[in-house]
Amino acid sequence: MKGKNIEPLWWGLFSAGGVIAAFLVPVHIILFGFAVPLGWISDTGALYRNWLVKLYLFVLIALPLYHWAHRFYFSLNDMRLGLPQRPLAILCYGAAVLGTILTAWVLLRI
């Protein structure tokens, strides 16, 4: 397959990640950035042994990474910093793919 043929795939992942980030991320920031650390709600982490929860977390964490990759790549391009396009794209989208593998690995371990 030629490189340009997979552009819709990246765009689809960007879009799906944007939806997940918009609907689900803010409440998780409130829960795990404030409620749990500040002791409003206690959490031992037992919930994460459930497979449905793991699947949910995989979607929650992995998809917005592609959203980041897409936006970060294009805004760096738009900023006209003179960075080479192809290595930058490989770096951004590669980081998202790596993040996906890492997320799966962590969720399988716990």
């Binding site: 490189g3 340009k4 997979i6 552009e7 990246w10 944007g18 939806v19 980030a21 918009a22 609907f23 689900l24 991320v25 803010p26 409440v27 998780h28 920031i29 409130i30 829960l31 795990f32 950035g33 404030f34 749990v36 650390p37 500040l38 002791g39 709600i41 206690s42 959490d43 031992t44 982490g45 037992a46 919930l47 994460y48 977390l57 929650l60 964490i61 917005p64 990474l65 959203h67 980041w68 897409h70 936006r71 970060f72 790549y73 294009f74 805004s75 738009d78 900023m79 006209r80 910093l81 396009q85 794209a89 989208y93 993040g99 890492l102 997320t103 962590v106 969720l107 371990r109 716990i110």
Partner: protein, 135 residues
């Protein structure tokens, strides 16, 4: 990911700080930057989940450390960026995917408002589920 060859594109000469010139350009960059904070939060969250491989105590201790002022400031910033992403995302959804009832198109701000309501209800459900099911 792939744009036409650089030589085939028209590139107007622009200073690197073009996005600081106008409020709307600046807000555009803030919107794009929101994805960085969302990704950073998710990396921290994944790191927290990873602590569970060392047992529940390690996980709880990690969560406690996030109560330090530095982390609270980070999470306040992340939350503000995330909310900005949500609102701008709903606004653009209303433009990109207009909804028709019969012949008439539903006004964009109504579509945005419906999305916001769904967002709040979903957030409450997740909050309540977490409180009910957590260990």
């Amino acid at each position: 990911m792939n744009r036409p060859e650089k030589s085939k594109l028209y590139y107007p000469k622009m200073p690197a700080a073009w996005w600081l010139r106008k409020r709307s350009y600046f807000l555009f960059m803030i919107r794009e930057l929101s994805s960085v904070f969302i990704a950073l939060f998710l990396v921290v969250y994944l790191t927290q989940l990873y602590q569970l491989s060392g047992g529940s105590e390690t996980y709880v201790a990690f969560a406690r450390r996030l109560a330090s002022p530095g982390w609270i400031i980070f999470h306040i910033a992340a939350l503000l960026f995330a909310i900005y992403h949500s609102i701008t995302w709903f606004q653009s959804t209303a433009v990109v995917m207009p909804i028709k009832v019969g012949e008439r198109e539903v006004p964009r701000n109504v579509v945005t408002a419906v999305n916001v309501v769904v967002w709040i209800v979903l957030s409450l459900i997740i909050w309540l589920l977490f409180v009910a099911l957590r260990g």
